[in-house]
Symmetry: C2
Subunit: 208 residues, 2 copies
């Protein structure tokens, strides 16, 4: 229980920040070169210029290391206000598609999600460092659209949350499925169709 949850007892030699970034960078490099299944801890350590034991002092296993290595890439996702819900959606979906077409995310994301079905701490780590960041974009985009008057002001907070959940699963799921299962490009033509479908469904549901 001597955890560093609150930066307890900062005594002793501090961890090298350079080593940490070098490890994460090396992890992404190995993911690109060898993919998820052939990535080994020893290989990452060698490329990062650190000892293998250093990896195990910071990450319990390969899964958590890879989650952290990939998570920072999701910080790139932004949601600039482009003036309309349609433009906002198309923009962020294109970003997400480009992210998923990078080899390191392509090979790693599904693998760690698959592992997380039998590893609750890993699921929580993924949720906190990847999923929630994406979901926040959905909430922001919906709020903006409501403020613009593009979407009706729903009263029932439960319904609003359920719709937010649905939109998130539909958008993120569709992009992931397109990129990884169908293995087709997430290009402008496809994004436009997806957005049209989504907007049509949202406005139709609103009139109902």
């Amino acid at each position: 229980m001597c955890s560093r949850t609150r930066s307890r007892t900062r005594t002793g030699r501090p961890r090298s920040a350079e080593a940490g970034t070098a490890i994460l960078e090396a992890t992404r490099a190995v993911l690109v070169e060898l993919g998820w299944s052939k990535l080994t801890m020893g290989d990452v350590a060698t490329r990062a210029g650190v000892a293998k034991t250093t990896l195990y002092r910071r990450w319990a296993n390969k899964n958590e290391l890879v989650v952290d290595a990939v998570a920072v890439l999701f910080d790139e996702l932004e949601l600039p206000d482009l003036g309309s819900l349609q433009a906002d959606i198309e923009n962020v979906v294109l970003q997400f598609g480009a992210l998923l077409e990078r080899p390191e995310t392509k090979t790693a994301l599904m693998a760690v999600v698959a592992e997380s079905t039998r590893d609750e701490p890993l699921r929580e780590r993924i949720r906190a460092s990847i999923v929630d960041r994406q979901k926040r974009l959905v909430l922001e985009g919906r709020q903006r659209a409501q403020d613009r008057g593009e979407l009706p002001q729903k009263r029932d907070p439960e319904t609003v949350a359920a719709i937010d959940d649905l939109i998130f699963d539909v958008v993120a799921g569709a992009v992931v499925h397109r990129a990884l299962v169908s293995a087709e490009p997430v290009d402008e033509a496809w994004v436009r169709r997806l957005t049209a479908l989504l907007l049509g469904g949202l406005t139709a549901a609103a009139e109902q």
Copy 2:
């Protein structure tokens, strides 16, 4: 090139069909008990009551074995004509959700898809034995709805194909994302919302 593509030269001792089914059954059992990452070829062989070498005579690696073991579960998916597009969609999505909530598919499906990003033969195997069967349901459902007059008869075959692709990615992706990433149940309430969104989007796009 002495392949068995066309049941060439049927000489020698034939492969035991019982062994094949026992292996696939044992594979699913191990998936349920231990999950994807802890599944080992030796373990599967022991539980199937066959020698490990027999596994390697039939499957090149763990990935292809697991794909075949899980693929048969997708044969259960059916698309009975329930009279309306809405009912058809809700029914098949519920089936798909139930399938994805089974522990063997939950832990295996994403894992093999992740592997397939760096293994073209594996991707082809997944496409042929899993993805195409799902996609056929989309095509059938859309055709039925057109015949009923619920959807307009589009002229442009390219547009039709593009919409079919989109629907497939949206539906399958949303369900997978809901079940595996969000880790929330694919229950009737959620399915109804998804279907409403989809139908709204399709009809709105048709009027446009």
